[in-house]
């Protein structure tokens, strides 16, 4: 049964992927290009060489974490889309921790900075969880609006209160300094965020699939009334999943700061949070599948440059493909269960 479910998911996802690629092929053919060449460049740009793969995995790392921000609360029946804001808050919290903890030995300071980032993101999305539980505020709208608030707050902070006036080109916060940057995984060009992302996904999967807590979350997500009847602490579960999800996205922001930028600025707002929503849905909220889908999406993003350079396609071409993929997957969701019934399973 379990195997059949996996096969069904894989078959439907693959069909949706092929459908999206087909439509995308039509789109590029309209521009006078050979779709096969474009597919080849998609593969080459995302996975064709070690150089491409490094870029793909680097792109995938933050998306894994922001995907958890949607995937985790989704198991409790919440639709949270606040990954972008939580990432930004996490990044700012990391910088604030970094400039205050500079005196500590780097490993300890970096650990505390990441913790601060996770805490910041967790509290940020936790607000939406609390509003949901105690005030009945729609968590989707709340987290969407919190994204805008987070970005506005960061823009305000980096334009004044925590601005590094040495950076003239664009407003940026104080830098945490080279000493607190964690760099890349040895012998690769991939930063440590990938390890954080994979570990977080695996831990979440174990938590959700193999613990009583995970089962309780699923019950709340499946039927709140039933959960209430059996005496599950619904408020605690709603809060915990939103805080943990936000913490994952906050950690993504922390890693962007300690591994990539070294400071907070509008460079944090590049859509990782929104890409995470897409990944969570494509992975059907399964944390292990999130890893694979994030790598796939990272590959598409990474190949975007090659599509521009080889074919003169606009920058938005990969966004078109991602959008098509999303629509195809949502449409394909209606297919679940049909084949199993007809095959007498």
């Amino acid at each position: 049964m379990r195997g059949a479910a996996w096969a069904e998911t894989a078959a439907i996802s693959a069909a949706a992927l092929l459908a999206a690629l087909g439509v995308f092929g039509g789109f590029v053919a309209l521009r006078g290009l050979n779709p096969l060449d474009v597919y080849a460049a998609l593969v080459a740009g995302g996975f064709g060489s070690w150089f491409s793969l490094e870029e793909t995995l680097t792109q995938a790392a933050p998306i894994m974490l922001t995907a958890l921000c949607t995937a985790l609360p989704a198991r409790a029946g919440l639709l949270v889309i606040g990954g972008e804001g939580a990432l930004v808050v996490g990044g700012v919290a990391t910088v604030l921790a970094g400039v205050n903890l500079g005196g500590l030995p780097p490993p300890l300071a970096v650990a505390l900075m990441c913790l601060a980032g996770a805490l910041g993101g967790g509290l940020w999305v936790g607000v939406a969880g609390a509003l949901r539980h105690w005030r009945g505020v729609n968590e989707t709208i709340a987290t969407l609006l919190l994204n805008y608030i987070a970005i506005a707050v960061m823009n305000h902070l980096v334009a004044g209160p925590i601005r590094d006036f040495g950076q003239v080109l664009k407003p940026a916060s104080w830098a945490i300094g080279e000493r607190l940057m964690i760099g890349t995984i040895p012998a690769t060009g991939i930063h440590w965020g990938l390890v954080f992302g994979v570990v977080a996904c695996v831990v979440t999967w174990v938590l959700m699939r193999h613990t009583i807590v995970g089962f309780a979350v699923d019950v709340v997500g499946g039927n709140v009334r039933a959960a209430q009847m059996v005496g599950l602490p619904i408020g605690a579960i709603v809060l915990a999943t939103t805080v943990l999800g936000g913490a994952a996205a906050g950690l993504a922001g922390a890693i962007e700061v300690v591994a990539v930028h070294g400071f907070a600025s509008s460079s944090l707002v590049v859509g990782y949070g929104y890409a995470g929503i897409l990944v969570a849905f494509l992975a059907r909220q399964n944390p292990l599948a999130v890893i694979a889908v994030a790598v796939l999406l990272g590959g598409i993003t990474a190949s975007g440059g090659l599509l521009q350079r080889r074919f003169g396609l606009p920058d938005a071409a990969t966004l078109v493909l991602e959008g098509l993929l999303f629509i195809a997957l949502l449409a394909a969701n209606t297919l679940y269960g049909r084949f199993r019934r007809s095959s007498g399973d």
Binding site: A44, G45, S49, F51, S52, E55, V168, L169, K170, V260, H261, S267, V270, G305, L306, Q308, R309, R310, G312, P314, D315
Partner: protein
């Protein structure tokens, strides 16, 4: 015998050389892939478009194939794109066309000594990699000519300049615009507003409206894309001057002329790479060095005025017209140049240190002095 064979050999060598020389001279230029990286969309009616226009000209060089990537942020992403162009597309010349790409250029260039990197900030200093180049035009010169057009066309005697960042080249451009207008009529004043952002269309639209409400009737905007400002000016029936690239189509009625870069000056670096010849690491220039240009005149500009402005342009070319000359005061009353003092148009030391607005400019630099 020996003598004879030598002669024969020499003869052979001589005839071979004679046969080869013209062939070498006619040989196709060394093929090269040239990468262009833009910070925004390349059809933005502004900064990025001015580079895309130059890219088209570079593409016309013999043996040159160009590749382009737009919307590349000024982060670690810029380094990745440069490396991808070099490793995936075998680019040998990379045009990094945004100011903030310079740190990325400095990081990537030492890894690829056979690749030439050009950057538009003219920030190159001794000690920077030899395979990096900085080049930039003196945009204050075409702004001076725009100022002459503005000064001749204004009815209210009030003109406006919208700037992005409080940096030396924006002040130079503002000063050029003001000096040009006041060369026509010393009573003209120019409102100078610095938005603080390279690209902030909402703020730019607000400032435009506010300036027009104050009676300004000619406007120029030194922002990434002046599209919003120029369209707004056209809608409200005032004159405008362009910036970066030819934007005359945005304002068929009110467009006067515009200050344009001539980034195609960078073709010389591509040729230098192809021929293996030397190149300057730092290059600045104005009309004289063909590194800036003036947009075609709009239909509002009379033939007499066109002739006058083109004559002044020639003045920059033959160095008879100087932008900064005494007596000159800043707009806080401080003496900048005394009677008889003249600054050469290519005096980089003076121009890079400009942190003032000249008399006639209404507004503050926002700098603490």
């Amino acid at each position: 015998m020996i003598e004879a064979s030598l002669t024969r050999r020499q003869l052979l060598a001589g005839s071979l050389a004679a046969a080869l020389t013209p062939t070498l001279a006619r040989a196709a230029a060394r093929p090269v892939t040239v990468g262009f990286i833009y910070v925004g969309p390349k059809n933005d009616y502004g900064w990025n478009q001015s580079h895309a226009v130059a890219a088209k000209k570079v593409a016309q060089l013999e043996g040159v194939k160009i590749i382009e990537q737009e919307n590349v942020p000024e982060t670690v992403e810029a380094e990745k794109v440069m490396e991808a162009m070099i490793r995936q597309d075998t680019a040998k010349v990379v045009f990094a066309t945004s100011f903030g790409y310079w740190p990325s250029v400095l990081k990537v260039a030492p890894k690829y000594p056979d690749v030439l990197f050009t950057h538009i900030g003219a920030l190159w200093k001794d000690g920077n990699p030899k395979n990096t180049i900085g080049y930039r035009g003196y945009m204050e010169e075409p702004h001076y000519l725009c100022g002459v057009a503005a000064g001749s066309m204004t009815k209210t005697g009030k003109i406006g300049f919208i700037g992005s960042k409080p940096v030396y080249f924006i002040f130079n451009n503002a000063n050029g615009f003001v000096l040009g207008a006041r060369a026509v009529n010393p009573a003209i004043t120019c409102q100078v507003v610095i938005t603080g952002d390279w690209n902030n269309p909402v703020r730019e639209a607000e400032v435009t409206n506010s300036l027009i409400d104050q009676g300004v009737d000619v406007i120029v905007a030194n922002v990434d894309s002046a599209k919003v400002v120029i369209e707004n000016a056209e809608r409200r029936g005032i004159y405008s001057c362009g910036y970066h690239t030819d934007v005359s189509e945005l304002a068929p009625k009110g467009f006067l002329t515009g200050a344009e870069w001539n980034w195609a000056a960078g073709t010389r670096f591509v040729k230098a790479w192809q021929d293996g010849t030397s190149y300057p690491n730092l290059l600045r220039g104005g009309f004289k060095q063909d590194m800036v240009a003036l947009s075609p005149f709009g239909r509002a500009v009379t033939p007499e005025l066109r002739t006058k402005i083109l004559a002044m342009k020639q003045g920059f070319v033959d160095d008879s017209l100087k932008l900064y000359k005494g007596p000159l005061k800043d707009n806080e009353g401080n003496v900048i140049l005394k009677e008889g003092e003249v600054i050469a148009n290519d005096d980089n030391k003076f121009k890079l240190a400009v942190n003032f607005l000249v008399e006639g400019a209404v507004g503050k630099t926002g700098l603490k002095k």
